[in-house]
């Protein structure tokens, strides 16, 4: 490793360390004005009263503050629940808002300094580490030492990385009040973009985008000489930065609804939720455009593009989850399970999620058009279940947290309902396939090993059979790592796309007798 790379690694670790320590800085306090400013009108009177014992007290840590707050808050609610006074229970979670407002910390005072020390150093370190990679080596496949690496082969570093990611997602989704230091740290950026203070989702979006950019640069270095890899990496970097991160914030600045133009239902599972629909309908021409655009993507965009290019047009060129998987997740692609058993589970689970998403959405829409007479608030229960189990736990905690354990496409392979929909089109009505180059396969196994979707590519290639699989995201890495030039991603005539009984070229003795 070059000196500059060692420096980069050091800076990255300092940045990461600061990022982990920052949430524990500062102190917290509550007063009446703060509660009034951050509470819905109907809850103001009660909360001012319930939290009165906390006034004036300075809490030296987020743990002390939040546990005290939760103590008063929960005992108030528990009493009501015990008496079945359901209408008086406060269902809203105010912990994040109060913690953010009640925080006094050096981070809040000097957000730019701490931003530089944490995310800034991590980004600079990441760039210093990635940019000089493979500099003195000729272009070629750079998988040397993958399985001798503790990070990439489920060693102790991999375990620690996975545990950190899982913890981060759990805190982000369910305990964001512990992250208010970090949120206030990125707030100046949010103010610049949208004019609003940051939420935990802005923090997440910022880190996510920067991670894709820094690790996208690693991809450029690693796959030097492979235009397909370079272009699709540039594409996911662009779509994440512009479509997922900047444009929605700018829309908010312009008083338009927050909208990611490349997110498609059913991955975008709340697209048809009543509050979304009313936002679209109440936002004039722009809102109407968003609604129609979203629907057109589902019913025209997905089938058309997938017919011509396979699901890769979305999964490895556009999608944000795919973008993270293909950049940050690339070092872990070899950890996907290639067994037939895993494939069986995969088909049940991913299509199960698709069915669940469709049922939930159908119920939601029926409910909306029947003026909430149909099922009433039961859809809310369904929404919160889906949001918890699929949207947060599966897509986030498992989807990314499990990179170092099960490879970088756990969510895309087992969970994403949009991938399931794209996959059905790809399998049954598409021009896309991976072509096997005659009899040239030597069964070495590189293609299968580096398939992030766990497709046993070799099983097809060694038979001289084209690979047509619903799960293939068309990342092109099987083709890149093949030492004998056997695999090529192609869009072509549908005829002979699927050849169930291929003949390996080169042996005329057998052909003559068939």
């Amino acid at each position: 490793m070059k000196l500059i790379q060692k420096l980069g690694l050091l800076l990255f670790l300092i940045g990461l360390g600061s990022f982990i320590l920052i949430p524990f800085l500062g102190s917290y306090s509550l007063d009446k004005e703060l509660i009034l400013a951050n509470t819905k009108e109907i809850h103001q009177e009660k909360l001012v009263e319930v939290l009165e014992p906390m006034y004036g007290e300075a809490f030296s840590s987020n743990f002390a503050f939040l546990s005290t707050f939760n103590g008063y808050f929960d005992s108030y609610n528990d009493k009501l629940k015990a008496n079945s006074q359901w209408d008086d229970v406060i269902w809203d979670d105010y912990s994040f808002a109060f913690a953010l407002a009640g925080l006094e910390s050096p981070v809040k005072e000097n957000p730019w300094l701490f931003l530089f020390l944490s995310i800034g150093l991590a980004v600079i370190g990441g760039l210093l580490y990635n940019l000089p990679k493979h500099q003195d080596e000729p272009e070629g496949i750079k998988n040397n030492g993958t399985f001798h690496s503790s990070l990439k082969n489920r060693g102790i570093v991999g375990m620690l990385t996975g545990s950190f990611l899982i913890t981060f997602y759990i805190v982000l989704y369910w305990f964001p009040a512990y992250l208010v230091n970090l949120v206030s740290m990125v707030s100046p950026i949010s103010e610049m973009l949208s004019g609003n203070p940051a939420s935990q989702w802005f923090l997440y979006g910022l880190i996510y985008t920067l991670a894709i950019i820094v690790m996208g640069i690693r991809m450029f270095r690693k796959y030097r000489g492979n235009k397909y890899q370079q272009l699709r990496t540039a594409s996911v970097m662009f779509f994440q930065t512009a479509f997922a991160f900047l444009i929605p914030e700018i829309l908010v600045l312009l008083n338009q609804p927050y909208f990611d133009f490349k997110n498609i239902w059913p991955l975008d599972y709340d697209f048809f939720y009543d509050y979304q629909i009313s936002t679209f309908l109440s936002s004039g021409g722009v809102g109407m455009f968003m609604l129609i655009w979203g629907i057109l993507l589902i019913i025209v965009g997905v089938p058309t593009f997938t017919y011509f290019f396979g699901k890769r047009w979305y999964c490895s060129w556009v999608c944000g989850c795919g973008g993270l998987a293909e950049t940050v997740g690339d070092p872990f692609r070899q950890l996907s399970d290639k067994s037939v058993k895993a494939w069986k589970y995969e088909r049940y689970i991913i299509h199960g999620v698709l069915v669940l998403a469709v049922v939930m959405t159908t119920v939601t829409i029926a409910n909306y058009f029947s003026g909430f007479s149909f099922l009433g608030n039961a859809t809310n229960q369904l929404h919160s279940f889906y949001g918890f189990a699929i949207g947060s736990a599966f897509a986030g905690v498992v989807g990314t947290g499990f990179y170092p354990f099960m490879g970088n496409r756990v969510w895309c392979r087992f969970g994403c309902p949009l991938a399931a929909y794209l996959g059905i089109v790809q399998r049954f009505k598409s021009r896309f396939r991976i072509t096997t180059n005659g009899g040239q396969c030597i069964s070495c196994g590189n293609c299968s090993t580096y398939c992030e979707m766990g497709i046993d590519v070799r099983a097809y290639a060694q038979k001289g059979q084209n690979i047509v699989r619903s799960s293939c995201v068309g990342c092109g890495v099987c083709s890149a790592v093949c030492p004998r030039g056997v695999l090529k991603l192609e869009n072509g005539n549908e005829e002979n796309r699927i050849n169930d009984f291929p003949i390996l070229i080169g042996n005329n003795s057998v052909k003559l007798n068939v």
Binding site: P138, E139, G140, I141, N143, N144, G145, T146, F147, H148, S149, N226, K227, Y228, L231, S339, V340, T435, N437, G438, G439, Q440, I442, S443, C444, G445, N446, S448, T449, R458, A459, Q462, G476, S479, A480, V481, P483, R484, G485, K488, L489, E490, L504, I505, G506, N507, N508, S509, V510, K511, L512, N513
Partner: protein, 451 residues
């Protein structure tokens, strides 16, 4: 199990396993046993280098999951064969156990050549062919190797050099001939690969021959001496001067041997019900004009197995290979060949067209006979379609027709530079030809796919 015909295959490499799999497909009843002391489960020998370099683990090189064998009723016997009793039709294993057979297939592969160099049995001196060779190499190069020497400039030699380079062990690569793999590659290609070897900081020494391997008092290698008298200190020596049939354990019996097990084109040996396929078989005649009596390539092993399976299933057929093809990878440069391109040719009978990219890593050669008909091609650093050239050879296309349609043969990933355009231009310049050069597509122009 009694009553069922029992086919026993010694060796579970690509030949033996292909034979077993195809036989099972053709005959649901026959009992099939694969015998191997090397590894219980079939693995891809060509991938051994990738295990060493950490691209894969051993299990990744196994093309079939472990349940596959039981499901297809292919019995696996992990034993070394010490003797074959052809009269009572029994195998005798090193453990002393016996196994009766009705039909026997000998598919035992090769072993690295050792030409009687002094010191060739020292510790730290080895070839690379088997799983055990890989394990030995891993332990021998674990530590304390400040230089390695590789003897013999062929495919395994360059693989071993790449493997050692991964461990940052400096490599001196002794090649007896005047160019790398120059008994197969024409001069220009051989020189191109030679340059690429040097680019990887491998000390390639052409026209250098091993004289003696020097050992220390503990029996470990400490250096080598070349024929020119130069001594090179080293702690590891790779012997990669080719391979030969692994038939030592068959010697001294009634089985007819030459360099390999002698077979006819139906893979029959001189003993009834005993067959031999793969690297260890030696045909009594070359299977085709451009073929040798011993074929030691992955692809030919697979074809032998596929063909013999038909015979064993009661539909006897003779081996009739199609057009020759092969592939390899020299460090970062991929190589494919279709048809016949020898190292040298008679220029009164053959015309050669050669194009090399300015990077010195991409090249194309096409040989044509004097009527202009395609004889064969070599391509380096880019990929060409097997099906295209198989058809061109079968339908006896002219070289000009091949070049005119070369865009259709392109097998490089999408957005790659269109080298076929440059090749077409160069062919027009050298040979003329009544075709129009392909135009770069809109996408290629857009993304600046420069050649």
């Amino acid at each position: 199990m009694s009553g069922k015909r029992h086919v026993v295959i010694i060796g579970n490499g690509i030949s033996g396993v292909t034979c077993a799999r195809n036989l099972r497909k053709l005959d649901d009843k026959v009992r099939i046993t694969l015998v191997s002391g090397e590894s219980k489960y079939f693995f891809s020998r060509t991938a051994l280098m990738y295990i060493y370099m950490g691209h894969m683990k051993f299990e990744h090189t196994q093309p079939y999951e472990n349940w596959f064998w039981e499901k297809n009723r292919l019995e696996l016997k992990e034993e070394w064969v010490s003797e074959i009793d052809y009269s009572s039709k029994h195998l005798i294993f090193q453990s002393g156990e016996n196994l009766p057979y009705d039909d026997l297939v000998i598919a035992v592969g090769s072993k690295p050549n050792k030409f009687g160099w002094p010191g060739q049995e020292l510790k730290g001196v080895q070839g690379l062919y088997s799983k055990q060779d890989l394990e030995l190499m891993e332990s021998s190069t674990q530590s304390g190797v400040s230089r390695a020497v590789i003897v013999g400039g062929g495919l395994i030699g360059i693989e071993m050099a790449e493997m050692l380079a991964y461990k940052k062990i400096p490599v001196t690569f002794l090649v007896r001939e005047s160019g790398f793999w120059d008994n197969i590659l024409p001069k220009a290609e051989s020189e191109m690969i030679g340059k690429h070897i040097l680019e990887h900081h491998i000390d390639l020494r052409l026209e250098s021959e091993l004289d003696e391997i020097l050992g220390d008092e503990s029996g470990r290698v400490k250096g080598i001496r070349t024929k020119s008298g130069e001594e090179i200190p080293c702690q590891f020596v790779g012997l990669t001067a080719g391979v030969s049939p692994n038939i030592d354990f068959l010697k001294g019996s009634e089985l007819a041997l030459n360099r390999g097990v002698k077979v006819n084109l139906n893979f029959q040996t001189n003993i009834p019900n005993v067959y031999s396929i793969g690297d260890c078989a030696e045909f009594d005649q070359a299977p085709a004009a451009d073929r040798k009596p011993i074929e030691q390539v992955w692809y030919t092993g697979r074809m032998h197995g596929e063909t013999l399976a038909h015979t064993l299933a009661g539909r006897p057929i003779a081996y009739k290979p199609g057009h020759w093809f092969n592939s390899a990878k020299f460090l970062d440069i991929e190589y494919q060949t279709y048809g016949t391109v020898p190292a040298s040719w008679d220029s009164s009978k053959i015309d050669s067209f050669y194009w090399e990219h300015s990077s010195g890593k991409i090249a194309f050669r096409m040989l044509m006979d004097k009527s202009g008909m395609l004889v064969g091609i070599n391509n380096f650093g880019f990929r060409l379609r097997h099906e295209f050239f198989d058809r061109a050879l079968t339908d006896k296309w002219s070289g000009a027709k091949v070049i005119a349609k070369l865009e259709k043969a392109n097998f490089d990933p999408e957005f790659s530079a269109p080298f076929y355009i440059e090749i077409q231009k160069e062919f027009k310049k050298q040979f003329g030809g009544d075709f129009s050069v392909s135009k770069p597509s809109f996408i290629q122009k857009l993304f600046g796919a420069n050649v």
